[in-house]
């Protein structure tokens, strides 16, 4: 199918501002969605679920959240790991306190709780900017992890300091715990990703999104145009934390099942999320997905080659892995600082004109 806009006339503004303005692209997108929902559940294996697809989906939500804050609103955050921990522990406490509450509601509520915490840690952004703020968000990372590690109430005073997700069901099918079938966890995560990616798209294309981007591009001018720094920065912090919190909740309940906070939500998680949005593309919904896919899949591939293929020891493989990831990040930044999403855009530009160069 040729990628063309010729003959695809827009008769209304509603048609002009839709997400996929080109017909072919729109059909392809819906075909892909149908494939994900209707075909993949029958193909998915436990290995693919546990090591690639479910982590990818959960990280996509986290990356979407961070992208709203950093990519759209321009506030660099290094506290993602801490906010994921808030989501995870909120999820745990809710699951224990209200055993009958539906897991979907639990995850969304965890998101709201994290949004409240994010709002609190977003307050300094009204006074300080740029790297000063980035460092300030590290305070959130360290403080939150310390809190969940030190205060027994959060992990119900378990001896190991670990939290474990009890089994919960949707329509009689387990989606958390050890017995959850791969297709069920997959469908749960996919539904969340689908709905909240759509919401993210809606938020970023309207008034709120423009107020974020205005703050990012030129904060003083934005203020003078009537964008309230309080409203736009704090809403970005809250909504971003909402996404990150839901991601953290699913990371704990659906994916890992058991979590020790200093291990599962340390500062490396914050960096991973930042890598995702930078490699994927700042200020791009698609970029969040591409970045998450890259950061999730790449180490798996590398490890399979070195440990599985060459038979090297795991610590040696780990050294090479971290080195390669570092080098690749630099490489990506040099080749395309605007991320994979920009490469995709450029490819589409080329496709529109293909086979002619201009």
């Amino acid at each position: 199918m040729l990628y063309r806009e010729a003959g695809d006339f827009k008769g209304s503004y509603a048609a002009d501002i839709q997400t996929f303005p080109i017909k072919g692209e729109r059909y392809l997108f819906w075909a892909f969605v149908a494939f994900c929902f209707l075909v993949v559940p029958f193909l998915i294996t436990p290995y693919w679920e546990k090591s690639i697809i479910v982590p990818f989906l959960i990280w996509s939500i986290v990356a979407l959240g961070l992208n709203i804050l950093t990519g759209y609103c321009g506030q660099v955050s290094l506290g993602t790991g801490g906010f994921m921990a808030v989501g995870a522990f909120a999820c745990y406490k809710l699951m224990i306190a209200f055993p009958d509450l539906n897991i979907v509601a639990v995850i969304v509520l965890s998101g709201f709780i994290t949004a409240g915490v994010g709002l609190l840690f977003g307050l300094p952004s009204l006074r300080i900017k740029g790297f000063y703020l980035a460092v300030a968000t590290l305070a959130a990372q360290f403080f939150l992890v310390w809190l969940f590690n030190k205060v027994g109430w959060f992990y119900n005073y378990s001896a190991s300091g670990q939290i474990n997700a009890p089994t919960r069901y949707i329509l009689g099918v387990a989606v958390t715990g050890a017995n959850a079938p791969p297709w069920a966890t997959y469908l749960l995560c996919l539904s969340f990703v689908f709905v909240f990616a759509w919401v993210a798209r809606n938020l970023t294309r309207g008034r709120l999104g423009r107020s974020w981007m205005a703050m990012r591009d030129m904060d003083i001018a934005a203020q003078i145009m009537g964008v309230s720094p309080l409203g736009s920065k704090l809403s970005a912090f809250a909504i971003s934390s909402f996404y990150v919190g839901m991601g953290g909740a699913m990371f704990f309940s659906v994916y890992l099942g058991a979590v020790e906070v200093t291990e599962a939500f340390n500062i490396d998680k914050s960096f991973d999320a930042l890598f995702m949005i930078i490699i994927g593309g700042l200020g791009s919904i698609l970029g969040s997905f591409l970045g998450a896919a890259f950061i999730v899949v790449f180490p798996v591939v590398l490890k399979n080659i070195m440990v599985g293929g060459l038979g090297w020891s795991t610590d040696l493989a780990a050294h090479i892995e971290i080195m390669t990831i570092g080098a690749l990040i630099i490489f990506f930044l040099i080749v395309e600082p605007h991320g994979l999403a920009q490469l995709w855009r450029l490819t589409k530009e080329k496709l529109r004109l293909w086979p002619f160069p201009y």
């Binding site: 501002i17 423009r210 591009d217 030129m218 003078i224 145009m225 009537g226 964008v227 809403s235």
Partner: protein
């Protein structure tokens, strides 16, 4: 919802900048600056300046570099808080005010060094100008389809009028960072107009432009003033333009007001000639 794409409207025929209506009759005082002083540490940027801006006029503020002109605009729209003096806008006196509040009350502006949102398209930049007029809350925005989209389209219509008026339809979806300087200035005017201001502040709208671009910009400014009745205060260094388009002129020098009056009076004022104009116009 399904507002059709409009056929090119004649600029200004059905479109009005009326979001910030008030009942001050044309020719009466819209904004009054009274005995304002502003300093940064030891540097006095403005010293005891008073003047007024009347509804419907084009008011120019001129003076040498460093005379405090931009600081004056910053005081008017609340970006700086003067140490002394009051600003009375629509009969309400105040000294301190947030710039976001000023924007909500219909004071809009452009900047000396272009301050567009570089990562956004022309369309989005101008749409940002309408941010104080859009009301849908988070919930509706998250849903999009329905009220939020309807509101978006309603404002898009208004913005399309402005785009048409400023003759920038061809760059509607171009990221502003890629535009040449003159067009960026025009987009910035569009963004300020989109707020449907009662008072429009223009900080050197013609700086760095060639003759043709200056002519275009003068035409736009006059059209805005004539067709929409928008009150305009502008800073400009090109004396030819200032004398031609403005109704009254304030002259600042070292933060003090040294002249105030109609263009012809200013041109003949010896103090102004000494401080700024240099050679008298009649020779």
């Amino acid at each position: 919802m399904n507002a059709p794409i409009m056929p090119h409207p004649v600029a200004g025929t059905e479109f009005r900048l009326e979001a910030h209506q008030d009942d001050i009759p044309t020719g009466q005082t819209l904004l009054k600056v009274d005995n304002v002083s502003l300093s940064f540490g030891g540097v006095k940027a403005i010293r005891e300046v008073s003047f007024d801006i009347r509804k419907g006029e084009i008011r120019a503020i001129i003076g040498p570099n460093g005379a405090g002109k931009t600081s004056m605009l910053n005081v008017i729209n609340g970006f700086y808080t003067p140490q002394q003096g009051t600003i009375t806008y629509r009969g309400v006196p105040r000294r301190a005010m947030r710039s976001t509040q000023a924007a909500r009350q219909g004071i809009s502006r452009t900047f000396q060094n272009i301050a567009l949102f570089k990562g956004m398209s022309t369309l989005d930049n101008i749409m940002t100008g309408r941010i104080t007029l859009q009301k849908r809350n988070l919930f509706w925005q998250a849903l999009w389809h329905g009220p939020a989209q309807a509101e978006e389209i309603e404002h898009r219509l208004a913005v399309e009028h402005i785009i048409d008026f400023l003759e920038i339809a061809h760059i509607r979806k171009t990221p502003v960072g890629r535009l040449p300087y003159g067009l960026q200035k025009r987009v910035e005017l569009g963004r300020a107009l989109a707020a449907e201001p009662a008072l429009l502040l223009l900080d050197e709208p013609m700086a760095g432009m060639n003759l043709e671009e200056k002519e275009d910009m003068s035409r736009f400014i006059l059209d805005v003033n004539n067709q929409f009745g928008t009150t305009i205060a502008l800073i400009e260094h090109d004396m030819g333009v200032v004398m031609d388009i403005s109704d009254r002129i304030v002259v600042l020098d070292y933060g003090r007001k040294i002249g105030d009056g109609k263009p012809a009076e200013i041109a003949a004022d010896q103090a102004v000639i000494d401080a700024y104009l240099g050679v008298p116009h009649h020779d």
